[in-house]
């Protein structure tokens, strides 16, 4: 599978990657991976945020489509526009893989900057989410608003990946939900919010 972007900001807990195409990014809650060549490991992360911003922050874009019928018309009229923006996405690190072994904890080093970023296949998602040990990392690391959204989006995708070979979707979601209950002790409203988004 071809890479979709590269790392432009890196830390052990999270990194930012820029997409090669404007307005194109792996969906929220999807699993991506990048190498850490020094350690020889693959780092896994979940997309927590996607944004498209002007290359020059001092120049604010202006609306151009008064006479256009659609976005395609605008781009046809102003082909240079797409070159003035970039799309980047934030990734929360949820684990890594050394050799065959998948670890559901933080890697010793973050991915190098400019490291290539790949979107994981359904099989890779299934393998990674086989163990639910990543849940605490995802809950605590990316602690901002929207955690519930990201978590629920990832679990839905993981459930679909798990169910590819059978009818284990509901079973997987129940199992994940049960793991969340002790993690969200005393936060029953938050728990209910996440569970409601798993449907």
């Amino acid at each position: 599978m071809a890479h979709i972007g590269e790392v432009i900001e890196s830390s052990t807990e999270r990194f930012v990657a820029q997409s090669y195409e404007v307005n194109s990014a792996p969906p929220l809650g999807s699993l991506v991976r990048a190498q850490q060549e020094g350690e020889g490991i693959t780092i896994y992360g979940v997309v927590t945020n996607i944004e498209t911003t002007p290359l020059d922050p001092s120049r604010r874009p202006v609306a151009r489509g008064r006479d256009a019928a659609s976005l395609a018309d605008i781009i046809k009229e102003h082909p240079q526009l797409m070159e003035l923006f970039r799309t980047s996405f934030d990734v929360a690190v949820v684990g890594h893989q050394r050799g065959e072994q998948v670890y559901q904890h933080l890697p010793p080093l973050p991915p190098e900057v400019h490291q290539l970023v790949f979107q994981c296949s359904a099989d890779e998602v299934a393998t990674f989410s086989h163990d639910l040990g990543f849940l605490p990392l995802l809950l605590t690391q990316h602690g901002g608003p929207g955690t519930e959204e990201v978590l629920a989006a990832f679990l839905r995708r993981a459930a679909d990946a798990q169910a590819a070979g059978g009818d284990g979707r509901q079973a997987f979601l129940v199992q994940a939900g049960k793991r969340l209950v002790p993690l969200l002790r005393g936060e029953s409203v938050r728990l209910a919010t996440i569970l409601a988004k798993l449907r």
């Binding site: 890779e124 393998t127 079973a171 209950v181 002790p182 005393g186 728990l191 569970l195």
Partner: protein, 560 residues
């Protein structure tokens, strides 16, 4: 990247419990104390409805296995918000997720017995398993190992809850060496259970029984509230091992009972103690009760006084009063009461036909024949019950004590172990009478003379606590009066846990058994009595089958 084939690899949440012990796994110990009992948190896939009060649970400790009785079942949540703001349980995902995690079941159990891993012996509980020891529903094998196998020493009484194919057995030597009791409010199956105990003891030939059959239930035929309506009595099942005596020949004949003897009591057989025992029932004053002993001295001794006294006219009484220094009025009142007695009780006659019935019954017992004494029309007559039961029992006491003393420890010379079955026991063993009547003495000290009681009663609280405390094995059907429950459980270990079990018994065919003859308390669904199969289990052989067997035997012996 590992290759991932979701078909080949079983996911942890898709794996099914396969082995038997996994099927029986319930949860793990999370809290508890030796005195209070253990709390077992149910596994997430177990519902509280999988467990019932009175069931057996085994907990596997490190050095021993603990056998426990479920005494309470609780609902818990990890978060108080879950109780005050219930989540949306209409969503199946939410319901499934919270079950066993945010909300979970706890089973409170009373540890009753331990089995050391080394040695395989059973001991009373002296310690408790550690945190997170796994708990299981007890298996058939475990239960049957505890309660003993099918042999001459064990009496099958029923099955534990929800384990119909498992048999609970009482240890007969322990059952008969101390008094036992069958309790329960009316209509809960006391008679049914008593009949099973009696038949079992007869079948195993472990003791001879004297049964005061106040309601004509045990001898030839009895009634049962189950589908069978009428059930066979002991005489039908065990023929020559059982003799039926009656106080009321007409009633027995009307019911089609063939009796071995009719009990008539001659005036000459009435001893002063027999009348003194009736003090409470006849409402005699202290003076009157004492007077009978004076009368015995003055009116010709033990075999003459009663007849002589009751025949006296007014003049004769006056002379007697002068002669004995007894108050004339008191004597008159006493005579009036004794005449009332002879009027009411038809089996009291100046001269008994067929000799001394009491002696005859004792001879039967000594020859190891079980005797059922039917009361016929006297079934609701406390005078008849108290008089006859006390008379016979006192004579048994005298004879058995004499025989045991004379045997000087030679087992062959000793009389057979005897069980006296006493229905409506509170009439004989209440606090006012237990001190005076022979039954109090038997309950307290006759164990060494090989006589014990089988007490059947619906108001255990009315029985003298001292007597109740001597009862070794207690079989309790449903009781719902607090006083009765307290009386039954006083002194029992784990009384608090048993209380909950006792109050929740079903009103039919269920009983809690605890005490001497069982290693640990047990709730049983009683075995069947009344169906043709059940009779076979009790060793009954139909006449046609007997004939066939005889024919087979003949052919085997002599050829065609």
């Amino acid at each position: 990247m590992t290759s991932f084939d979701s078909n080949a690899q079983k996911l942890p949440w898709e794996e099914e419990a396969s082995t038997d012990s996994e099927d029986r796994a319930l949860g793990m110990v999370v809290d508890g104390s030796l005195s209070r009992g253990l709390d077992i948190k149910l596994d997430t896939d177990r519902s509280t409805e999988d467990v019932k009060v009175g069931q057996y649970i085994t907990v596997q400790g490190e050095q021993a296995r603990f056998y426990c009785l479920v005494s309470d079942i609780l609902l818990k949540t990890t978060d108080t918000a879950l109780t005050s703001m219930p989540p949306d349980m209409s969503d199946p995902l939410v319901a499934q997720v919270l079950r066993g995690t945010g909300t979970y079941g706890v089973v409170h159990v009373a540890p009753t017995l331990t089995q050391r891993v080394a040695g395989n012996t059973y001991e009373p509980v002296k310690t408790i398993p550690g945190h997170y020891a796994p708990a299981f529903r007890a298996s058939k094998e475990e239960i049957e190992a505890i309660f003993g196998g099918e042999d001459a020493q064990h009496l099958w009484i029923g099955s534990p809850l929800d384990m119909e194919d498992t048999r609970i057995r009482l240890e007969i030597p322990k059952l008969i060496e101390r008094s036992s009791g069958v309790f329960g409010k009316t209509g809960t199956g006391k008679t049914y259970l008593t009949r099973i105990l009696m038949a079992g003891i007869l079948q195993k030939r472990s003791a001879v029984q004297l049964i005061f059959d106040m309601h004509n239930e045990y001898g030839w035929r009895g009634t049962s509230e189950g589908q069978w309506g009428q059930v066979k009595g002991l005489k039908q099942l065990y023929g020559s091992q059982v003799a039926v005596f009656t106080l009321d020949e007409a009633s027995s004949r009307a019911r089609g009972v063939s009796t071995d003897g009719v009990v008539q009591i001659g005036y000459d057989e009435l001893e002063p103690e027999d009348i003194a025992d009736l003090r409470e029932t006849l409402d005699l004053s202290e003076v009157q009760a004492q007077a009978v002993y004076v009368l015995e001295k003055n009116l010709g001794g033990r075999s003459h006084w009663f007849g002589a006294f009751i025949e006296k006219d007014a003049e004769g009484l006056k002379d007697l009063a002068a002669q004995t220094n007894l108050h004339g009025g008191a004597l008159e009142a006493l005579q009036r009461r004794l005449k009332y007695l002879t009027d009411r009780l038809g089996f009291l006659t100046p001269q008994a036909n067929g000799g001394n019935a009491a002696g005859q019954i004792l001879d039967y017992l000594q020859r190891e024949k079980t005797v059922v004494l039917e009361f016929g029309k006297y079934k609701d007559n406390p005078l008849a019950q108290v008089l006859v039961a006390n008379m016979l029992s006192r004579r048994i006491y005298d004879r058995w004590a004499g025989l045991v003393d004379r045997a000087l420890g030679d087992k062959a010379q000793e009389p057979p172990q005897l069980i006296i079955t006493l229905e409506e026991a509170h009439k004989f063993l209440n606090s006012r009478m237990a001190g005076q009547t022979i039954f109090g003495t038997i309950a307290r000290e006759m164990r060494k003379y090989k006589v014990t009681l089988l007490v059947v009663d619906q108001r255990p609280s009315a029985i003298d606590p001292e007597v109740l405390s001597q009862i070794g094995t207690k079989v309790c059907c449903l009781l719902d009066d607090d006083n009765d429950i307290r009386a039954i459980l006083s002194g029992a270990s784990g009384a608090n846990e048993l209380r909950g079990v006792l109050a929740r018994l079903e009103s039919k065919q269920q009983a809690l058994i605890f005490g001497h003859a069982v290693p640990m308390p047990v709730v049983v669904r009683t075995r069947d009595y009344g169906s043709p199969d059940s009779y076979k289990e009790f060793g009954f052989v139909e006449e046609s089958e007997q004939r066939q067997q005889a024919e087979r035997n003949r052919q085997e012996l002599f050829g065609r």
